[in-house]
Symmetry: C2
Subunit: 80 residues, 2 copies
C-alpha cells in the first residue's frame, strides 16, 4: 500500500480540497492520512522537509502536489 498524506490548516480552500481528495483517491492503492496542522503543529517540520510550501497539499509517495492555495506555510507557522 502506498502512502498519501493530505496536509491542511482548516481553511475553507483546505476543507474543499480535503473533500475532493478523500472522495477521489484510490483507496485500494493508497492509505490516506489527513494531517491538520492546528491539531498536529509538530508535523510542520516534516511537511516542510517533504517540500510543502502551502496548504492544502497532498504528498503521494514523497511527491508534493499543492492543490489550489489556502495559506502559506509561513501563515501556518504564524498561527500555530
Amino acid at each position: 500500500m502506498k502512502k498519501a498524506i493530505f496536509y491542511h490548516a482548516g481553511c475553507p480552500v483546505c476543507v474543499e480540497a480535503e473533500g475532493m481528495v478523500a472522495q477521489a483517491i484510490d483507496r485500494s492503492k493508497y492509505e490516506l492520512e489527513i494531517v491538520h496542522f492546528a491539531q498536529h503543529p509538530d508535523r510542520v517540520v516534516e511537511a516542510e522537509t517533504a517540500g510543502v510550501k502551502s496548504v492544502p497539499a497532498l504528498l503521494l509517495d514523497s511527491q508534493v502536489f499543492h492543490i489550489n492555495f489556502g495559506a502559506s506555510m509561513a501563515d501556518v507557522k504564524g498561527a500555530a
Copy 2:
C-alpha cells in the same frame, strides 16, 4: 460514474501532475478524461467556463482544483 477531466498543456509540471492523477484517482468512481490543449485548443473555452485559471487543473464533478502551477490560461491561449 462521475466525470473527471484533467486539463493540461504538456508542460513539465503538467506531466508530473498527470502521472499523479492517472495513478491516484479512483477509477471505480471516476471516468477520467485527459485533455491536452495543444491537441484540443477548441476546449479552452469549456475549461475557462468551468473555472480553470491555470494548468494543470482537475475538474471533478464541476469543481476545479488547480494542482501546482504550470502555466496560466493566458499562456495556454498564447501558445495555441
